[in-house]
């Protein structure tokens, strides 16, 4: 039996606080429904320059580390490249009109399920599933950020958008009961993502952490 001890009281309060703060729609109210356009979202892929990240990927029981390069090669096409620290190319995707096309994969990673998971979560990280989607827009009282809520048959996606910059601060993907995935972003003053963390729960759990690297790209 739980006695009303100050310590228990504190733990109970903390538990309640955690439950309340975990709700994505806390303090948010449904404002409207609209179709998301490119201008509603600050893109992760930079149109002017390449982006380089130190990548740590935990896929199921495997750990991979290396470098991820994001480069826009023309107005409609980008490339996502993952190489190891030693320079070995692991995979490369061409991204065109929000579609991923596999250009290269290192043989041990060439497994359908693995590629599906990588592609799916990279699309999530790079915000490739958002534009042209119909979304419920939730707004916050203090006007700091708003939420785009989109959904498909199985999942609901909550994108937390900074009001003044349109950068995505956080993504929560929810199933019918549990949270399936979370992505958190940090940005520098130029609104380039400096740190991206994804955590995907499930049988094939996936964790991705990207930390921006600077001054190592040369034309």
């Amino acid at each position: 039996m739980l006695r009303l001890h100050p310590k228990n009281l504190f733990l109970s309060s903390l538990f309640i606080t955690l439950i309340v703060s975990c709700s994505p729609s806390y303090k948010y109210k449904l404002s409207r429904t609209e179709v998301i356009t490119e201008s509603d979202i600050h893109s992760i892929i930079n149109k002017d320059s390449s982006l380089l990240y130190k990548a740590k990927i935990n896929l199921y029981t495997n750990y991979y580390s290396g470098i991820i390069l994001l480069k826009q090669t023309n107005p409609t096409t980008s490339h996502l490249l993952f190489i190891t620290e030693l320079g070995m190319k692991m995979f490369e995707f061409e991204i065109q009109n929000n579609q991923f096309k596999l250009i290269y994969v290192f043989e041990p990673l060439n497994k359908q399920r693995v590629l599906e998971i990588i592609e799916k979560d990279m699309k999530l990280i790079l915000l490739q599933n958002l534009v042209n989607k119909k979304a419920n827009v939730f707004e916050q009282k203090n006007q700091v950020q708003h939420i785009f809520q989109t959904s498909n048959e199985k999942l609901k996606y909550y994108h937390f958008i900074q009001n003044n910059t349109n950068v995505v601060n956080k993504i929560i993907v929810k199933g019918s009961v549990f949270t399936k995935a979370k992505v958190n972003y940090s940005y520098n003053n130029n609104l380039k993502a400096t740190n991206i963390k994804l955590k995907h729960r499930g049988i094939f759990s996936l964790k991705i952490e990207l930390n921006k690297i600077s001054t190592t790209l040369k034309p």
Binding site: I67, E85, G87, K111, T216
Partner: protein, 237 residues
Amino acid sequence: MREMKPFLSSLKGRRFYPLSTILLACMFALTTFMRGEVGFLSAVFTQTPFKPVKDTLLLKNKIDNMSKQTNSIESDFIQTKNLAMLSEKITSEGHFWFQKQNNLRWEYSEPFKYIIVINKDKILIKDENKVKKYDMNANKVFKEINDVMISCVNGNILNSNKFQIAYFENDKNYKLELTPTNQAMKENLKKINIYFDKNVTSVVKLEMVELGDDITIIDFSNKKLNVKITPEKFILK
């Protein structure tokens, strides 16, 4: 549902050679060849075209002699990855230590911290604060790496059946062009080029050319030969 095996253990029993394998092998190959003081020598390569070496036996003997006289090496390096398709270069740099018979520390310091240590029959990798340990003898590919390394240290790489080696020279440099003979290796790697100065005192550049013409280049500088290296360098915690 298909089970994913750990990446490195998934290499067990498979006959392919990832570029990192080749790179590690080449690091040891370099320990065979490197000698003397060199700076950044990129400019050296704007030279006359390379032609086949006439007296390959003499060159092999010089390389063999260097191998026998080199017990330890310490050097800075700059690694540049040229991406053919994206016209992009990714540069990283660091320092490495080698001690005969089978100890190597390859440490990246910029733009990230990453260390690979080979200590006799163990391979250790430290990525930021995580250390992973792999047993060379429990993995056929690592065993293969080790065999290549030892043959490099012993100077037997020149007689290796894993590569077909062609010898070229111009007015200032020799170039060894190593073409893989194994079909599985050929699927990942087109060739390795090792450049060294005309007096065969040091390797000045290493190139690894992939099938898609992406190239990894490593330049060496500030080399120290046969200096004492503490055993702690080959331990990762």
